[in-house]
């Protein structure tokens, strides 16, 4: 029997291998990782791990656990092509491995702007543990970091670098931080918190060039206005690109990710894709969420689909970030809201609730984990309406209890 071959051992791939077993699949599973390491968690790379965390804390589970599960884990393996006719993956070392189903879980890579100097020593992006180690070494050797891009990775690294005692400047091309994810209100809260924490944030400003010093290493970032910000290290954090090369070379449809249906199938039903590299075509258009939650949720659902186990309902999308001493959490689809309501949390913090046609569709929070969790539960059951929130004293826990009982009555 040919194995289910999982290409990519990040959050999606590693979860899929484990979930296949948990769903009762007893055939062979081959998990191929491009990096030479046991699958590990990525969120700490810009936070605790970069601050001097312990590498042994990163793996999801020890290497032996995969053997115990009957999962054949091979790391340091690059898949270079798919041979759909032969149902085989082609590896960089020339091997061809047959599959019954192949799942592309190749993730995303950091986007790099078309600027001179991005290849200089001391210029970093951050996706892998090796990236974090290289960045960490350079942070130890300088006292000035410039971050290009005011998004999640850049701001988390800026926070960590401040904690490590560096002077940090963040340059952001738009007029606010985390603009693709956060609304204007919380974006402003975040800006204030970063500035209060000593991070120098410059909005509406673009880099023109990364400049080298006499030693050939990065020495600074020249801005479009001609000013040069000195830097011993530069982090580029302007977003990510799904890794779709293998799918595209095989002639599979690619558009901002490997296009798959709601059961994660490409046009070839034996080739599926999940996680950051996948773009799911559904009734509301193409959806691509880049988050740990999305990767693990898709992995669990695909495992159930491949094994005929009970269907796993799609989870409410959620995302978190920790930066500038605050906890940012986003749930649901706030971008589709047509009306908003801002509410203080019970213990400080703020949540912005979004409604479409009068019904709750999502929320974003700063330092209000309880409201965030409540919203996730509410969205998974019977979401409340805008009117339910009109009483300023309404307790979200009561709404949650009501929503849950409404679901069980109807279900």
């Amino acid at each position: 029997m040919d194995p289910i071959v999982v290409v990519g051992a990040g959050h999606a791939g590693a979860q899929l291998a484990v979930s296949l077993r948990e769903s009762g699949y007893d055939g062979p599973v081959l998990l191929l990782g491009g990096e030479g390491e046991v699958p590990y968690q990525r969120p700490p790379l810009s936070k605790a791990y970069l601050h001097g965390g312990n590498a042994s804390e990163l793996p999801f589970r020890p290497a032996e656990a995969y053997a115990a599960l009957g999962v054949d884990l091979e790391t340091g393996v690059d898949v270079t092509a798919l041979d759909q006719e032969a149902a085989a993956v082609v590896l960089a070392d020339g091997r061809r491995l047959r599959y019954s189903t192949v799942v592309l879980a190749t993730g995303a890579e950091a986007a790099v702007p078309p600027l001179p100097g991005t290849a200089l020593p001391g210029v970093h992006t951050l996706v892998t543990r090796a990236d974090a180690d290289a960045l960490s070494a350079d942070l130890a050797a300088t006292d000035r970091l410039v971050v290009i891009g005011g998004g999640v990775v850049g701001l988390e690294v800026a926070t960590t670098a401040r904690k490590r005692g560096l002077d940090v400047v963040v340059i952001e091309a738009t007029d606010r931080l985390m603009g693709r994810m956060l609304g204007a209100d919380l974006s402003r809260v975040l800006l204030d918190r970063h500035r209060a924490g000593g991070v120098d944030i410059r909005l509406d400003l673009q880099a023109a060039e990364i400049v080298a010093g006499a030693d050939g290493r990065v020495a600074g970032v020249r801005l479009v206005d001609g000013v040069v910000l000195p830097a011993g290290a530069v982090l580029i954090g302007i977003g990510a690109r799904p890794r779709v090369e293998v799918a595209a070379a095989a002639g599979l449809a690619v558009d901002g990710g490997v296009l798959v249906d709601q059961e994660f199938r490409t046009a070839d039903p034996r080739v599926r894709a999940i996680g950051d590299c996948a773009a799911v075509v559904g009734p509301d258009g193409v959806q691509r969420y880049r988050s740990v939650q999305n990767a693990t949720d898709q992995a669990r659902r695909l495992a159930a689909l491949l094994t005929g186990a009970l269907p796993v309902p799609a989870a409410v999308p959620w995302f978190w970030s920790e930066q500038a001493g605050c906890r940012i959490q986003i749930a649901g689809d706030l971008a589709s809201a047509d009306r908003y309501l801002v509410r203080a949390g019970r213990r400080g913090g703020t949540t912005v609730f979004g409604f479409r046609d009068g019904v709750l569709v999502g929320a974003e929070s700063v330092d209000d984990a309880a409201s965030h969790l409540a919203v996730r539960t509410l969205l998974a059951h019977v979401p409340p309406t805008f009117d339910d929130f009109l009483d300023p004293d309404v307790d979200l826990r009561d709404l949650v209890a009501r929503s849950r009982s409404a679901t069980s009555l109807s279900g």
Binding site: R61, T377, R397
Partner: protein, 109 residues
């Protein structure tokens, strides 16, 4: 030095004993050993409440008092909260906690 062992009891009553290096959280001990019933989606950052457990009541007092954040999040776990509810990512195992028994709820998400 004793290596702490923690017992995870499934909702159906199956007991899995896991040994963990001192300083490891119960959540990581469970996920590292592949114990089903602990999800730990956020990796232990107190963001998701999917590592909810019921601590054996007679040893509840041996655990450090919970932070207000944990207390609030326990009001919103997928399975009902009980007086002995904790988030297992906030239980740091040490020799003193050797033999601790944690029962997992029927569901986490």
């Amino acid at each position: 030095m004793t290596v702490p062992t923690v017992e995870f009891v499934s909702d159906g009553g199956t007991v899995t004993a896991v040994t963990a290096a001192p300083g490891t959280t119960a959540m990581r001990a469970a996920t590292g050993a592949g114990v089903q019933g602990i999800v730990g989606e956020c990796g232990g950052q107190m963001m998701c409440s999917t590592c909810h457990v019921y601590v054996q009541p007679d040893r509840l007092e041996e655990l450090p008092e919970m932070e207000p954040d944990e207390d609030e999040m326990l009001d919103l776990t997928a399975a009902p909260r009980r007086p002995e509810s904790r988030l297992s990512c906030q239980i740091v195992l040490d020799e003193q906690l050797d033999g601790l028994r944690l029962t997992m709820p029927s569901h986490q998400v």
